[in-house]
Symmetry: C2
Subunit: 333 residues, 2 copies
């Protein structure tokens, strides 16, 4: 079944149907299950809990499609795809400790069920498992890209923590932060797939830029959803960013309005954000057009991502990459 000929619009936000839109997900789920099948005891339970909690599998799909656009299906591509998802799972296990999160994808987080201690170990185990798969299969370029991504993510998270409640947060710092925290990993996933398929330098650069812009759009929409999302659909509470003092794009744009800057600063400076503050800010962000402007910026990154695909071979897998980007326009979780 060709991916390109499917009508993705009907299925876009329906997790149950995602395997119809992206049939490769089934293979990824199977490989993921195999990769984790030799884990033991509590680690095994934690891995099942995480793997069974859904997730969009965007990173492994990126690895796969960015390879398949240049070459045939191969075991190497599938292994690299699974490694990317394992690394993503490892960062989630550690992120939930970092953010002290209680819920993710509508389920209690690892740290809520098994405690911080086991979550740390589960994350380390998943990192080791991912690197083990890449190393065993001699996927050294992918390995080096994944290491680069993890290094960036750590620095992005630390930078974010250092800028908590920083009213001087600006667009430049924000972009650096979300590039490190989110977009670089997606860029590296794309380059990982392309490298396995022996894409040339120009094509690899283009596909990397596609992943980077996809990642920027993904994170900006995530930041918007924290103000305007539907908690039932997101499976986690809203307002977490603000409560933790993370200043994201909508709030940075609001501060460019002279009229509301002081009101925004007053709330941020309080550092303990109550429901009323959050509601006031939410209204301000809508009324000043900051949310709308943020959304336009996210869409501009989707457009940039799509533009990068133009130089790639015209195959059903290029269409699949295009669909992944188009899906983001409607992202609500």
């Amino acid at each position: 079944m060709s991916i390109a000929t499917q009508d993705i619009n009907a299925d876009i936000n329906n997790i149950r149907h995602k395997t119809e839109v992206f049939p490769e997900i089934e293979k990824i789920e199977c490989e993921l299950h195999n990769a984790l099948s030799d884990s033991q005891g509590a680690i095994s339970q934690m891995c099942s809990h995480m793997a069974g909690s859904g997730g969009k599998r965007i990173r492994p799909l990126l690895v796969l499609y960015c390879g398949l656009v240049f070459s045939n299906r191969s075991e190497s591509l599938e292994k690299a795809a699974v490694a990317a998802e394992l690394i993503h799972m490892a960062t989630l296990a550690h992120d939930d400790i970092i953010d002290d999160s209680q819920m993710r994808r509508g389920k209690p987080t690892l740290n809520t069920v098994w405690g911080n201690h086991s979550s740390v170990l589960c994350g380390d185990y998943l990192f080791a498992k991912a690197f083990g798969i890449l190393s065993e299969n001699r996927l050294y370029k992918s390995l080096s890209l994944m290491i680069e991504a993890i290094d960036c993510m750590c620095n992005g998270e630390i930078q974010q923590a250092e800028n908590r409640f920083n009213i001087n947060m600006n667009l430049e710092i924000y972009y650096e932060q979300i590039t490190r925290k989110t977009a670089k990993f997606l860029e590296c996933c794309c380059k990982s797939g392309a490298s396995i398929a022996n894409a040339d330098e120009l094509q690899t650069a283009a596909i990397g830029k596609y992943g980077l812009n996809l990642g920027l759009a993904f994170q900006i929409i995530d930041d918007i959803l924290d103000y305007r999302g539907n908690e039932d659909i997101m499976g986690k509470p809203k307002g977490e960013d603000l409560r933790q003092g993370i200043i994201t794009l909508p709030l940075i744009l609001l501060q460019s309005s002279e009229k509301y800057r002081t009101a925004a600063h007053d709330i941020i400076n309080r550092k303990t954000i109550c429901e009323r503050d959050y509601a006031i800010l939410g209204d301000l962000l809508v009324n000043t057009g900051s949310i709308e402007q943020s959304h336009k910026i996210a869409l501009s990154h989707i457009d940039k991502a799509l533009l990068c695909l133009k130089v790639l071979p015209d195959t059903p897998y290029r269409d699949a990459l295009s669909n992944l980007a188009e899906m983001l326009r409607f992202r609500d979780n």
Copy 2:
């Protein structure tokens, strides 16, 4: 200066003089400093805090000497040595979260100063840094050995957590646990150095067995010190194992004494161990000879480690490996 001709006995427990006994430590410190020099912000501060807190640098010394015993000095060996120490530092950062430790080597732990959140990230950063060094230098065998060690350590820690306050803990489980938690990493460090120096299969197996036995001795002595050590010298409080319900060799041996088994079980089953319980158990462990017997077992592993060295080329570096094992006989921190 030949390592073999030095009198190590005088310097054995003197950290200030360790570079005289093992002059390669200076090179390791320098490489470690270089490896961490591009870290930023809080990660940089945390890395400096850890690297500056001393530490025995046993793992990088093992990598170095296990290479130098077969071949000349090389940049690869130094890189692999530093990577091993970075991985050790990463596991310490995460272990202190897992054990909720306040002090290590007489200094507050990372999580005490920077919190659990930053400690998780610092550990991840150090893992990525270590793998980056191994990957950049194409030290793929070392990389695969380090991954194996991390996988084992995670499973060992989880196993230990699952056996907390387990009065049925026995020698077999204990050995499996300390092999995974501690000894495997030392084995992998030794094999890492030997693989870079192109040691043959037999020699690599022997040097791995040396590392494994060194690791077993190291952990058993660590477990004894938790009952009988000097807190000022250790730089951390005693009795942590028992408080956390970790049943180690001395306590397992005590349970083989029919006379005292019930008393030991009563204390373990209480699960909240007070100072008085700890003192009673400490006395029992001495009076029944359990401490002495544990020490003898540790010494037997040192002897086994030394025996493994016999098949290696007779060089000053084999003597250095011998010295590292002999030092353990006097380990008090």
